[in-house]
Amino acid sequence: MAEVQFDAQAVTDAVNDGIAKIENASTSEELKAIKSGVITALTQASKAIGSLPVDQKKDAGKLMGKLRADFGRAFGAKETQVKADEEAKALAAETVDMTLPVDRKPLGARHPISRVIEDIEDFFTSMGWQISAGPEVETEWYNFDALNFGPDHPARQMQDTFYVKGNQAKDAAGFVGSNMVVRTQTSSDQVRALITRGVPLYIASPGRVFRTDELDATHTPVFHQCEALAVDKHLTMADLKGVLDKLAVAMFGPEAKTRLRPSYFPFTEPSAELDLWFPDKKGGPGWLEWGGCGMVNPNVLKSAGIDPDVYTGFAFGVGVERTLLLRHDINDMHDLVEGDVRFSEQFVMGE
């Protein structure tokens, strides 16, 4: 192959032509083709420099350096711009409607009754108390006798008890049965806990209880209570009031508080009805019935073999459904007990 002559003008034209084309290029492909043409021209010219006389080589080299630099500047800037444009276009093509509903792995829901029980448990464990539980089908002794409801106590009749069928046992009044009931109150766990755990004792016992009330807007035969029991030396009704106030705040917010009204329960003396000051009550803040409470009756302590002259205790029970009805403005008990998913789904994982 014959030697190619170094043609300064030609290579300068080729590079300038390339630079001019760059201005008009709009894709990477075009740029690539232009670059390839220019590189070819530059490479050929470089090779031709070898055959130039020595005195011309220096100038030729200078020229080549300048042309390369000129082209590089023009190309680099354009390449950055074109790539950015192309990326922007590609991303624009991938744009979606981010408001489309997406529910690939839908959450289910907890039942608010279970959740509020957990909240109550957390309240008590945060105070260092323990959570206890007794059986739902319970002996009459734990549900009644041990709690100072004697076999002929009028209150034993007023509890609307579900009795368990049986024909082997006789109760103290001579009535034949099973001596078992479906527990009417979580208080049935008081003496169990005292006997199995001993004193000092600080427990809360949430769970299911049963009464023979037909389901209507305000009653349900199966409902939930949380019993609290503390037995120790030096406990007084003042401690009862303090724990109740704290529980009220935990359940109903910082404005909530409690009030006691004289009442009667066989297993407490003194006894009180527990009223809640409910800031969000419909029609303005006010007092609402929330539960029952009192100082543990000495006979209950004696049922567990504990000396009432040394130990005192307090106990209270609050209704879980009642708590929910108040807090969430639920107007019909049916919604709370039926298990319609639309009800629980409102609460999702919390309440």
Partner: protein
């Protein structure tokens, strides 16, 4: 529960002129008498007194006779005739007792009676009736609808009756415009079942002046001196040969005669009105007086026709086989625990039953419209005896309600005195001065009371003198006190005050619970902290299933034949091992569930019936496993700790009640909407739920698939597995049997699971996870496809691979399951992606080949061939 009428209350305690029922309710609730309801007036006026000017009988075609009357209702309400003169109103009245000259109660146009009955002028029987003459029932005063109210019979004195003028406000006359406060009485406060008791409590609440009416009445009652020359009204003998708990059924029987009574005498208007407002019917003066005294003082009384009674009266227990027809016409087989009032005809002592003591009288011996000589009974009966008889015979009477809560044992002479005075004043009877009083009331033991108990129990700092004053004010006799210790004798009307703690309550409630300070006890020093592992695990399971997409439900545990059948249980066999309720709410669901699934299925059905789809529910709760051979549970007394043997016997008779979790999945398992992913539920969704529970708990759950014949009837024979935690069976998972889906109305292939959480949690050791070091050497990844007989499960083959690969196996994943002609009859292909990695070096080709060979050799042992 009792109705409180301010008009009556002020007989015993001073009340402010302007006392409202709302304020009364507040005052009473402060001391523990809870408001049930304030019953507001049910009628609006105008309702006025009318004078019947004329009444013209007009026979009708239907045989009825109606009266066309003109009734003077006073100038304000009378009609105006065409000359502008006021004239009596024309009113049609069908009542048989309508007659000219009567004073009646006229409801005028604009009045509204109970039941939203609006009075308007109306055309009837050819006249315009411009108002209505009312009966008791129409005004809500009682159930009498035999005729209209004739004010003549309403117990007014002649002067009062004369003073009634046409146009007078009859609303106020009959207290129709007055509300009533209904209160709840707790079982310890029997004495508050009387105006005497409520008035005392009002005094305790407000400090208003109170006078105990029993004091003056007892003072006026004749002294029973036991003078042998005086013959008492009747001989009475208490002969209790079967006392309950050693307590005699009757410890006081007081009888007093009232002779020469006018049987035609009417109950005075004020008494009649008060009785009606208290919810009782007015029957006759003699009966009304006994009821009135009961409501006023709290002493239930009985009035006998003295001429029919033959002494002695014997108070005794019933004998085997005796029967009695009570006043309400019901026949009762008597129990030897029933206490009876009997008399002695023909000298046959105690042979004729007059009634069940304190509960209800019999048909013989009652006062009637002819009774001239009355024998009043005021007795004190044992609470337990009366409570059991009332319960046994299902007669909760006004009398038994009071006796079973405890009646004042010193009230009997006062009550008889009050009744005698009323019968004398309004019925011209002459009270005897020689009543009979058999009084065996035992003196009550004084309570030893340390004043410091108030502070120790109630946390109240109350001065010793104030404590003494409060106890005295509630009627106690308080002695001692010098060293801060009292001897306190409770008043006879407070049988509930027996222990020091009872007195603490009295002091605390009268000082006011609001005065008790507020403190918080410190956290106990000893004992565990936080939730137990089981309590934590329960939450983990509940949260996991909700996060998996299921919704928590809480179904009632009641179940019956229909559910047993629908759910494929052997009905009879299941009943034998189910807890049965004696008094179920729904007679067709008397049992408690043994599994959660059948009752949870009801909740799924409820959702489906409401048009909801893709229902997936879970429930955590207890099931109840009746053991027909469990020992009988003993009846033990309270207040004493049972022995260890007795405690064991209590628990031994109780059914097992493990905690279960169950879930039912129906409809679509996946439904990502516009994204297009839709898949219906099948067995794998239930398995996934169980697997997630296992992972959440750190339990090593495996699935053991029984032969079709061994699958329970509720489950799909080919799509059900036993869930195992190690060697422990913890439950079942799979698809419901198509028969069950059909019976319940569930979509085909609905899936379910039920696990015994107590059993599952017991397999968890609760120890902290011991972490393995993480290898940073490169992995070797291989795919291994085997042909195996269809009888070999994927889990079996996986186990073999794991075992053969040993520690070098990092992970194994089944990525393909395949059957078909290429594989051959009775065979399937299972393909696993496995990853090997050594903890301490890079595995060489020789290393991985050795592992692969070990796997292939071992797999051949269960009939698995590596596919080329």
């Amino acid at each position: 529960m009792p109705m409180i009428d301010i008009d009556w209350l002020k007989d015993h305690v001073e009340v402010p002129e302007d006392l409202t029922y709302e304020q009364l309710a507040k005052d009473l609730v402060k001391v523990g008498l809870e408001e049930e309801e304030i019953h507001s007036s049910q009628v609006t006026g105008p309702i006025v007194v009318g004078y019947v000017v004329d009444a013209t009988p007009e026979p009708q075609k239907n045989g009825k006779i109606i009266n066309w009357c003109h009734v003077d209702v006073g100038p304000e309400y009378n009609e105006t005739d065409e000359h502008g003169n006021k004239v009596p109103r024309g009113i049609i009245c069908g009542a048989p007792n309508m007659a000219a000259g009567e004073k009646v109660v006229v409801t005028l146009p604009g009045a509204v009676l109970p039941g939203d009955f609006k009075i308007e002028p109306r055309k009837t029987y050819g006249h315009i009736s411009n108002g209505m003459c009312a009966s008791e029932r129409e005004l809500g005063l009682g159930d009498n609808h035999d005729g209209i109210i004739l004010l003549r019979n309403y117990g007014f004195t002649p002067e009062e009756y004369d003073a009634l003028k046409p146009g007078d406000d009859a609303m106020h006359l009959l207290h129709l415009d007055q509300p009533l406060l209904e209160i709840n009485i707790t079982p310890d406060r029997g004495y508050a079942f009387s105006y005497r008791g409520v008035a005392r409590e009002y005094h305790h609440s407000t400090g208003a002046a109170y006078v105990d009416p029993a004091v003056e009445l007892n003072a006026k009652a004749p002294v029973v001196a036991g003078d042998p020359n005086v013959t008492p009204d009747i001989e009475v003998s208490i002969e209790d040969d079967n006392p309950i708990h050693g307590v005699p059924g009757c410890d006081r029987y007081y009888a007093r005669a009232v002779r020469g009574f006018d049987p035609a005498a009417h109950t005075p208007n004020w008494m009649r009105r008060r009785l009606v407002r208290a919810g009782m019917r007015s029957i006759s003066l003699a009966v009304d007086v006994t009821n009135y005294v009961m409501l006023d003082l709290g002493q239930p009384m009985h009035a006998y026709d003295m001429d029919k009674i033959e002494g002695p009266i014997v108070v005794r227990r019933a004998r085997e086989g005796e029967q009695l027809t009570t006043l309400d016409g019901k026949n009762h087989d008597l129990s030897t625990e029933d206490l009876l009032i009997t008399d002695s005809p023909n000298g046959d002592r105690g042979s004729r039953i007059l009634g069940i003591a304190g509960v209800m009288g019999g048909l013989y011996g009652e006062v009637t419209a002819d009774t001239k000589n009355i024998l009043l009974e005021a007795a004190h009966f044992d609470q337990v005896t009366i409570a059991r008889s009332a319960r046994r015979h299902k007669i909760p009477s006004e009398a038994s309600r009071r006796f079973e809560r405890g009646v004042d044992s010193q009230l009997q002479p006062a009550a008889a005195q009050m009744a005698a005075e009323l019968l004398s004043r309004y019925g011209d009877g002459e009270p005897s001065m020689h009543p009979t009083d058999v009084n065996n009331v035992v003196f009550r033991r004084p309570i030893h009371f340390k004043a410091s108990e108030v502070a120790r129990v109630a946390g109240l700092d109350v001065d010793v003198n104030r404590i003494s004053d409060i106890l005295t004010d509630i009627g106690c006799r308080v002695a001692g006190g010098g060293n801060g210790e009292f001897s306190v004798t409770a008043p006879s009307w407070r049988p509930d005050l027996n222990e020091a703690c009872d007195l603490v309550e009295e002091v605390a409630r009268l000082v006011g619970y609001d005065e008790i300070p507020v403190t918080v006890p410190p956290a106990p020093v000893n004992g565990a902290v936080g939730l137990t592992p089981e309590q934590r695990h329960r939450r983990e399971v509940a949260n996991e299933l909700a996060e998996y997409g299921m919704v928590e439900a809480l179904s009632y545990p009641f179940i019956g034949d229909e559910e047993f059948k629908e759910f494929g249980y052997d009905v009879d066999a299941t009943k034998r091992v189910s807890v049965e309720i004696t008094n179920p709410l729904a007679g067709n669901r008397p049992y408690l569930r043994r599994d959660i699934l059948p009752t949870l299925a009801g909740t799924v059905q409820l959702n489906l019936r409401r048009g909801l789809e893709n229902i997936s529910l879970y429930e955590i709760g207890h099931v109840y496993l009746w053991d027909p051979n469990a020992p009988a549970i003993p009846a033990l007394p309270g207040g004493v700790k049972p022995t260890d043997e007795q405690l064991a016997a209590l628990d031994a008779g109780l059914p097992e009640q493990p905690m279960h979790v169950a879930g039912i999945l129906t409809g679509l398992a996946e439904n990502s909407g516009w994204l297009g992913g839709k898949r219906t539920v099948d067995w794998s969704d239930a398995v996934e739920a169980v697997r997630r529970i296992g992972e959440r708990l750190g339990a090593d759950l495996t699935f053991d698939q029984p032969a079709a014949a061994d699958v329970p009837a509720q489950w799909h024979p080919g799509r059900t597995a036993r869930v195992m935690a190690g060697d422990t069976f913890v439950g079942l998972v799979g698809e419901l049997h198509p028969h069950i889906d059909k019976a319940l109305g569930f979509p085909e292939h609905s899936a379910a699971f039920e696990l015994d959480l107590d059993a599952l949690f017991a397999t968890l050791d609760g120890k902290p996870v011991q972490a393995k070091p993480i290898s940073t050497f490169p992995p070797v990844k291989q795919d291994l496809a085997f042909t195996v007989p269809t009888t070999v499960s994927a889990a079996q083959l996986e186990d073999v691979i794991r075992e053969a690969a040993g520690d070098a196996l990092e992970s194994i994943e089944l990525f393909d399951v395949f059957t078909g002609d290429q594989i051959g009859e009775g065979l399937k292909s299972l393909a696993f992606a496995v990853v090997f990695r050594a903890p301490d070096k890079t595995l060489t080709a020789e290393d991985s080949e050795a592992i692969r060979k070990a796997i292939v050799d071992k797999a051949a042992g269960i009939g698995a061939q590596l596919r080329a």
